[in-house]
Assembly symmetry: C2
Homo-oligomer: 235 residues x 2
DNA sequence: TATGTTTATTATGTCATACATAAAAACGAA
DNA sequence: TTCGTTTTTATGTATGACATAATAAACATA
């Protein structure tokens, strides 16, 4: 039974599916820098005959790469390598209604971690223009009412600017991804209600520290600023 | 020309491809909580006839969901809803050889942000057993040599434990994803060489602070502990 | 020559069908 | 009942065909 033997020895290497192998092969090519951003990869049919599998398999492998953001395929031009937008990919599955509650809370927590931890990058890379912009944002802060302790849009504007100042585009994208989560968790009944919501260090206070203080001071101030959120997690 | 009119009015709704629509439809179902984790979704053929498209389209849509981590499909059991492992999805495309250098550096920076910012969660959730474990890890720290300022495995062990202590599984997964990046950036010529590498606050020092100090102290100590990395970024 | 329009080409997108494969379920014998 | 075998079933793979959209080529017109 030559055929049987052949199949057996083949399946030894072959725990994974055909598509897995093709995908791995293509990723391998990317990793070896044989292909660069903007390069076009062979047509589906060429790849199929090249790798000895059906076009179906090729298409599925390419699709995976596409979902992962490694390639983009245009109608006639074929597929081209793209530099993956690491977090852009995530935004699709980063839907509050899909994630489970534990994950949602954890994402909420990660936002707090980031804003406290990014102090050094703010101080290292802030420009005079940034300071001006921050002050402008603070000056336009709407007054807090009884119902709404703070205005969501304004919160996003201020804190988003801080992320921007870090000069870390990936971090900024990450924040953009966390925004809907944060909003959802904040408004849903997922966390305990805060007993007596209070404002601690204000946005203006944070800006003052950025101007005259140190990363250490900023971390502590930001921790204080976020106290309401921490309280809802810890109390 | 009834047919032409029909096609035209159809294409008004139809800027996206068939697969796009099916994908959106399925995601919508997930979001509406019509489907829950563990639920099985209809078979491919059923979906095909249900939505009036070919099995090919259904398969591609399902594949997208699978790559996004929203479903898992078993051989006979069909596909079942899974709570997406948010960062697990990323790990594939999170390959140092694929990402561009700016992104790599930014991921490197995010790790620093996280470890400084997570102090409060460590202090809030640490257990006596964690302290014992930390001390055990520190006690087994290999001595620093001339060539290697620190042992990578041991670094991962210690810092990984810290992530674990935060009780934030998502954060821990995130770290796992950052590890290869960090290693790569650290060893490649991407960053400046540090002129005179020095050890500042040691692992033991961090543990002491965890036992007797405060989150504020820990943040500053961790910032100091990571000084070598910061120096390579900022100097 | 330059420019706008039509036609042909090409590679991906979609469909249909058939078969392979693996896992579950049904079945049967001890 | 329990173990091993067969059947069923849904996904995985292969193949061939046509649709569609973007490009390129050809053409016509000023």
């Amino acid at each position: 039974m030559n055929e049987a033997v052949f199949k057996e020895s083949l399946s030894e290497l072959d725990t994974s599916s055909l598509v897995d192998k093709v995908e791995a092969k293509l990723v391998e090519l990317l990793q070896q820098r044989k292909l660069h951003v903007g390069d076009a990869i062979p047509k589906e049919i060429e790849l199929a005959s090249l790798l000895g599998v059906s076009r179906t398999v090729i298409r599925e492998a390419l699709l995976r790469l596409r979902v992962m953001g490694l390639i983009e395929s245009k109608k006639k031009k074929g597929a081209v390598i793209t530099s993956p937008d690491v977090f852009g990919i995530l935004s699709k599955s980063m839907n509050p209604h899909i994630l489970n509650q534990d994950t949602l809370r954890e994402m909420f927590e990660i936002r707090l971690v980031l804003e406290i931890g990014m102090a050094d990058f703010i101080f290292q890379r802030i420009t005079p223009e940034d300071v001006v912009k921050l002050k402008e944002i603070v000056s336009q802060e709407p007054p807090a009412t009884e119902q709404h302790l703070f205005n969501i849009e304004h919160e996003i504007l201020f804190h988003g600017k801080l992320y921007e100042i870090t000069g870390n585009a990936t971090l900024k994208k990450f924040q953009g991804m966390l925004l809907p989560i944060f909003d959802y968790v904040h408004n849903s009944g997922l966390l305990k209600k805060q007993l007596q919501p209070k404002r601690y260090v204000s946005h203006k206070g944070l800006v003052d520290i950025i101007e005259n203080g140190s990363p250490e001071m900023f971390r502590n101030a930001m921790r204080n600023h976020l106290e309401n959120h921490f309280a809802r997690l810890f109390d």
